[in-house]
Assembly symmetry: C4
Homo-oligomer: 275 residues x 4
């Protein structure tokens, strides 16, 4: 009995290293197979929705999807079993995604059409960052995330303004175009305003009255200027992070350890230490 | 009589704190209810213009709008009564918006279709900035506004140039496309030019002659470069404001006079002067 | 005789000050009337092409245009007469535009439809910069022009690359879409490629085959990245010009007169002069 | 015999200088003729695909193309003969392009329609950079390439994220629009998502359900922010390269070690050291 338990313990340890680790050969191999299967499963779900393809290969598609789902289920169970604090994994970002990746397929046994939601598996592709573990990419990824986080405050303020402007312009266009050419309601006009301000411009709704076209021209030129703002915000932050790239040679101040000083500083701005 | 007056004074004081203030619990509660009602009223005006929805719930929509309008009217009157210099509020930005927010509904009693203009209430959403009073957001908002103000001069010059270019290209396209495919007049051609230069591209008007398509290609590539200019202007200003965020007392260094140091510096990075 | 000549001389002097100068009251007034007439004449040419408007007011439009043309002709002649070196004006940028502004109207007496080219008058609006003479705007305008000039080299290299890519992608799409859905020739496919790369996206030509749509997706994401390059080039230059704003305190080096040194330089990078 | 060989040697030398060199007059002339022929041949291949043009001038087009192809073939052979290590040229970037430029025409003798691929000749236009050899352009080109290379890491991470988002949004829209209005499969929906996120907006597929339009609005505003990221990345790198343009020997100042000085500085702006 004791031996069985210790054998089980060893199995748990080995599996843990393979599933969670990336340093051993087996661990690496497992990760690459996993990534391949995720890619394959996302492709399968996509192809299932292409009518002409699905009609020919429906059985094969479903069969393959079930195989992958069972593999993912086993992997999910092993991840729970081989970890010391399973609840931490269960409620982590990746834990929830791993569950959402297998759930739709089982639900499709009871409800029609839910297998489409298996596409949530594409989120599992985010694991790539864990798998690669390439210092260059992870540092780039950190820089990007820092820059985007730093600009979040300004972006929120900006989008709030844009939404108010959007409601106003949408209402004006609704009154001006007077129910013509797709401007059938204020929400539809707001939809048009967003399509125009973001310079997407489908053309499914477009003004026909001269006054409407004049206002539309104004909105487009406004969109020009408005488009510049988020770009400016993000660029300024990225430029800052790129100018003092903390990963490359982030020599912290020998006096106080801060890494935040202008690139051509002669003295530490935090503690006065001469460089 | 004296007592009634003093009671009225106390009521005025209390109401003033609730309506204008944001530091007391009651003041905060009032602000959040107000914000909710503004959002609701904007939504109501929008839904009224959706034909299928309006046919079903017209009576309910109008009823709710009147309730909100009466609430806004009471609030407007209280704001005037409880302030010592009412004319200052009346002619302030928010005072005018508050009036415009209730006027259309009363006018709709006499004129048909004016209730649509109640959508101007969305401008009242700008109060959010007063309500939140969150230091992070207000500083971000100030930085953004400063950057946009600083770039106004260049943007005006730029848009003036773009408009002249637009008139010229519009005229050329009118001659080249010769009344075909929507280029029926110079104003229409200018409208097309703006749609193209801003990369919106509805496709309601698009060139069909080879020469017209060639010029259009040129305009698009020009639009590429032109689009870069406002972005460059705004980005440069935001980068400056982000690099030396002036809101927190931008005192030049007493040692060397530089204004370029991190906001929380204790020593000048240029000359080592302790702050 | 002598007196007549001296009178003519005085007339010439006075007229010169009014037409060319902006410092006297009369000179300013003349400039504003001129600007108004330019705007009016551009508007007239535009309205003439709007069929519904032209049918009603054709006679009035033509009459007004002739009046403005005669005024412009007089102004043109006076400009030549009252200047000491007329050929300098005649072959200057503004001189040529002033001639082009009146020529189409006279040519319309002999050839049909040339009056449309009167729209070249819009170029005369560039005079605004001379008229305003506002230090803020002219300095902004100079900064912008400097930044755009400085980035010209990179922009030329960039557009050259983009054109080669455009030809290649256009050819590939022509082969892939195989004459379907508007891809009728390589020039047409190149037109589509430019429409897509610049994110204009009219939709008059759009891929229908799955492979075509896949390549189109790739082109769009490429356009994303490509769009970033001119913006980056212009932004970098504007940021530089904004960082050392030569207009504000453009103290040229007392040693060699250069104005090109980093904002926090202690010594002139050109001649070593200590600041 | 010896004389013939030495004559051949001299011919080889001379030809080498003309074909590969750009410093002699003959070499320059050859390069400009070559560039002209490349442009002409690309134009010919294009015009061949314009049905109306090809029907009239098919014989002339084919004749001219054969002449150019033979010229290119001769040039290709001479390039191989007059170089000491031919295999280096054969497998170089330009060597492969030069071969691909002549191959399609010969293949068109055996297979129908391959002559279209002659358009690969447009890649030969890249030779322009060798021909011009203008220091300004080549330094600009190097700066651009360095900036784009430096931002590659971040761009790869960014596009990877965008693709995952694209798959998710595409799937959601497929479910929401439920096979209406072109959202016939997940791949088609992903195509629409890319068209929208990149702000191209053809309008061949556009949402019709209110919920679909609401999600589309969200996607467009997201595209706004997302568009800012690559621009920010590239701008930050270009700004860095423009600020310290490394191409012209970026030797740090021997006095103070700074690398931040204008490219044509004679003295260090930081410490006054003469260069």
């Amino acid at each position: 009995m004791q031996r069985v338990k210790s054998q089980y313990q060893r199995f748990k340890q080995k599996t843990h290293i393979i599933i969670y680790g990336t340093s051993t050969k087996a661990g690496r191999l497992f990760d690459f197979i996993l990534l391949g299967l995720i890619l394959l499963s996302v492709a399968l779900v996509m192809m299932e929705t292409v009518a002409s393809f699905d009609q020919k290969y429906h059985a094969e598609l479903v069969f393959l999807e079930w195989i992958i789902t069972i593999f993912f289920t086993l992997e999910y169970l092993l991840r729970i079993l081989t970890i010391t604090k399973p609840y931490k994994y269960l409620f982590s970002f990746y834990g929830i995604i791993d569950l959402l990746a297998i759930l739709p397929m089982y639900l499709s046994l009871f409800f029609l059409g839910t297998s489409v939601f298996s596409v949530v598996r594409s989120l599992r592709l985010l694991r790539l960052f864990k798998i690669l573990n390439h210092p260059q990419f992870s540092s780039q990824s950190i820089q990007l995330r820092q820059a985007i986080n730093a600009s979040r405050g300004k972006i929120v303020v900006f989008i709030y303004f844009v939404l108010i402007i959007t409601i106003l312009i949408g209402s004006i266009m609704y009154v001006v175009e007077d129910n013509q050419s797709g401007f059938t309601s204020i929400p539809a006009s707001i939809y048009w305003t967003i399509v125009t301000l973001t310079t997407v411009g489908y053309g499914d709704i477009s003004p026909v009255t001269p006054l409407g076209q004049f206002i539309a021209s104004f909105v487009m030129i406004l969109g020009y200027g408005i488009l510049a703002v988020p770009t400016g915000i993000v660029t300024a932050e990225i430029a800052r992070k790129t100018a003092n790239p903390s990963p490359k040679c982030p020599l912290p101040c020998s006096g106080c350890g801060t890494e935040e000083y202008p690139p051509n500083a002669n003295y530490c701005p935090q503690c006065g230490q001469a460089f």
